[in-house]
Symmetry: C2
Subunit: 230 residues, 2 copies
Amino acid sequence: MAAVKNGSIICWRGIPLYLTFLAMKNTKKEPSEKILSYTFEEFVDRVKSFHGFEAIGVMVGGFMVDLAYRYLSTKGLFDAVCETPKCLPDAVQLLTPCTIGNGWLTVVDVGRFALTLYDKETGVGVRVFVDPVKLEAWPELKAWFLKLKTKKEQDSDRMLDEVRRVGAGICGVEHVKVVDRIRQKRHRDGFAICLVCKEAYPATDGPRCLACQGERLYETVAREVTDRQP
Amino acid sequence: MAAVKNGSIICWRGIPLYLTFLAMKNTKKEPSEKILSYTFEEFVDRVKSFHGFEAIGVMVGGFMVDLAYRYLSTKGLFDAVCETPKCLPDAVQLLTPCTIGNGWLTVVDVGRFALTLYDKETGVGVRVFVDPVKLEAWPELKAWFLKLKTKKEQDSDRMLDEVRRVGAGICGVEHVKVVDRIRQKRHRDGFAICLVCKEAYPATDGPRCLACQGERLYETVAREVTDRQP
């Protein structure tokens, strides 16, 4: 697997690519034990408060976001992609302006523990992933990541200690250009009232909303008589 | 549209349903100007900090979560569903223990501005939606909700004032049972290393990860030479 840095002809997976975006100034700083502006302990507290418990995946995700920031151009606005809904989206939501609700974070579940921060205008960005080869020296983390132990068998103190010591050292970095399909948001030009449920929905979805077209969400529904009128 | 409360035979959309779950103690409290424990202004600040700006959708979503809590049984653990990725998931993530990353919040994009909090064991829960009929008395909110005005034409101060005054008064409530398909999480029994990208992925996805099976995320990829080893 050949990979060449910064503005040369790139051969990777056998395909030569001329990636001018790699010429962008690489302002990479040295890794530290901090996760952006947080100490490890401060980030543990933030994760507990938002995610409910100090999930190893969100802690690793914190270091991954920190690593992505080190490679990211300081210019422009960026969006985020997570390749799994497990844990990683919460690290992104805690550490970047990107959330699910503001649309700057997209989850595409292909089951890989990877995230990308990319320029929303160009799609050019930095992908950080966990590299299984680098897990070899960290047995408890490896067992967690590859699900080699049950939850009961895992030693959570040891896992947390390994995360603290290795930081983003189990990760790899790729320079990527995100495809348009993921970058293009679903725009809603107008709304209609669904003939069946009487709720508003994007008019482009057809004469009924998607739920009433067959995307069944509920087995049973009973409307509450609500008397509070505006 | 007939709807009868609490343990009777329910006729709704022409189907009689005997919903014993409606007999659960309805501990509904009177609506207030607070959003759970937050004042309106405190919640505006929380929305700005997490979502990036005081989005009307998250503010309305706050009142919707508050309303759902009033109907929710105090027993058991609950999960959440949002029927749109726009704004609502952030209200849920700010006000409940449910996040995208911990898997207790699911987004099923059918384009309706509605959320459900439901018992994770039984699927029984409370759905809150915006009722277009109730929007009639709130012209600025109606224009925002149905996209009758462009962003430039919207009067955000007036919208915010209308949200504060009406609270959850533009909403309706339904008692629902969430279908198993939404309740069942995608469990990952084991991981394999993808023959193409060399990353870990759920073994049940096949001999390669979903991204390398064709779910293309990136136009170009170039791997960074990372020298930091564990």
